[in-house]
């Protein structure tokens, strides 16, 4: 069995009118199937309101499907006995770093999760140290989070999740509030965790450049999986992506335009280096 499997997952919530009467149901997730192996780097793309974040909250049992099932590491996410095991193995990082900081000092914040799990003080210290090293924040362990840049705060948030020793990290638009340097820092850290520690990464984003490194991309639209495939496959379908209110990375777009203009360039170019090589060949 794969690490994370979603089978025909549907999630509906009740919409209420002004006076609280039931106004109807809104289907936020509509028959989603997913199949993610341990160690995969997955990107989920989609416009605002397409259900990405709702779907992400299903992965660690914060939300339960209305219909269908999700298995994480062999456990059904609706199984109340397994809920803490699931949350330990699937960590979540959210968009706004300010709203997920619990400690007033970096170190305390990272220690929050292991403290909740009930780990011994000495082991907590060890885990905090290791987690901060993994995201290269060990020099700031005594700092107040408010003194850190956005990228640094987000890396602390990642360390806070790492201290649970998770098998998978779900990042819900982790770079939306960061500047380019902060984005690079976070993405670099995430890729390193995937490469070195073999942690499964599920990155939710609408920044196309970040999805380029994924093993597989799922594109969501109106609660459904509209497209799925490798970045190369997905980004060669420019018109379809634009229908989903998304674009392709600028490099891919330029390559596409050049090919249309008669230059012999392969489809699905993803990085600057690839394009330069293809042009200079």
């Amino acid at each position: 069995m794969n690490f994370l499997e979603a089978k025909k997952v549907i999630f509906e919530y009740v919409r209420r009118g002004k006076d609280g009467e039931v106004d109807g149901f809104k289907r936020a997730i509509d028959e989603v199937d997913l199949d993610i192996s341990q160690g995969d780097f997955i990107a989920i793309l989609g416009p605002n309101g397409s259900g990405k974040s709702t779907l992400a909250k299903h992965f660690n049992s914060l939300l339960h499907p209305t219909e269908g099932t999700i298995y994480v590491d062999g456990c059904d996410t609706t199984d109340a006995d397994k809920i803490w095991d699931i949350r330990k193995s699937v960590g979540m990082v959210f968009q706004n770093p300010e709203n997920q900081m619990i400690g007033t000092i970096v170190e305390e914040d990272v220690a929050f999760a292991p403290e909740n799990i009930g780990i011994d003080p000495e082991e907590i210290k060890q885990r905090v140290r290791e987690s901060l090293v993994m995201v290269e924040m060990q020099d700031h362990r005594k700092s107040s989070p408010s003194k850190l840049s956005g990228g640094q705060k987000q890396r602390v948030a990642i360390a806070g999740v790492l201290a649970m020793h998770p098998k998978c990290i779900v990042l819900d638009e982790p770079t939306a509030m960061l500047d380019p340097e902060g984005r690079r820092e976070v993405i670099r850290a995430v890729r390193a965790l995937n490469d070195v520690e073999n942690i499964t990464i599920i990155l939710i984003t609408h920044n196309m450049e970040e999805a380029v490194y994924a093993d597989r991309i799922y594109v969501m639209k109106d609660g459904r999986i509209a497209m799925s495939g490798t970045p190369r496959e997905i980004f060669s379908r420019v018109e379809e992506l634009e229908e989903c209110r998304l674009t392709v990375p600028q490099v891919t777009k330029l390559a596409y335009e050049l090919r249309k203009g008669g230059l012999d360039i392969p489809s699905g170019i993803l990085t600057r280096e690839e394009l330069c090589r293809a042009i200079c060949r």
Binding site: K57, N60, L62, W84, R87, K88, G91, M92, F94, N96, E98, N99, Q100, M101, I102, G103, T104, I105, E107, E108, A111, F112, A113, P114, E115, N116, I117, G118, I119, D120, P121, I124, K125, V128, S144, S146, G160, V161, M164
Partner: protein
Amino acid sequence: MIRDITLGQYYPTDSVLHRLDPRVKLCGTLIYVISLFLFQTFTGYIVATVFLVSMIALSHVPVKFIFRGLKAILFILVFTAVLNTFLTPGRELVSFWKITITIEGVRLAAFMILRLVYLIIGSSLMTLTTTPSNLTDGLEKSLGWLKVFRVPVHEIAMMMSIALTFIPVLLEETDRIIKAQQARGADFESGNIIRRVKSLVPILVPLFISAFRRANDLAIAMESRCYHGGDGRTKMRPLAYGFRDIMAYVVLVLYLAVVIVVGIMF
């Protein structure tokens, strides 16, 4: 205006007070507050002043910073002073029109103001030298016995800690909202009371919405980091008393003794 509130803010520096166990500081603050209410004479206040001034000196926190907290309660101070001065019966000092100011009134007003000022400075000093998490750790530990009476000590401590962490965030947010509405020409300074209260709506509505959004985000983040109350929770740095803390308790006991002696003798 909003930035003047120092209560609940930590001033990061290194001093003996910063390094003390939070339980000592809580206990000390409590004794100090009690002493303020015991003293009825100027001699008593001299003792409290000596104690307070030496603590401020030990804390390494700039005096300007400590006094900033008083600006926020200026209104209450003036109000107390006026009430006490005019409404206390006793020997007449000055009299004009229908108002009489009494010697007792002036005396009481002076004490009340001193008491409030000392109270605020003393408690700000504690929060300025103790990180919020340390403070709540201390509270949780020293009030642990209340659990017997089904008081949710851990939950209260956690709520306090979160509230303290989010005070600066929400203050900043308030500042931002005020600026944004001012950019739309909102005026908070002129007009009568009713107009001024009404002018707060454009600030309060977005502020509440934002606070709820943040609270919701935080709750989800805590849950996904396996938070499930105080049961089975451990601490990275469990509180433990050291030599310094025992010495501090000795100082406190001495202070208490002086307070009692002064209270009885003078």
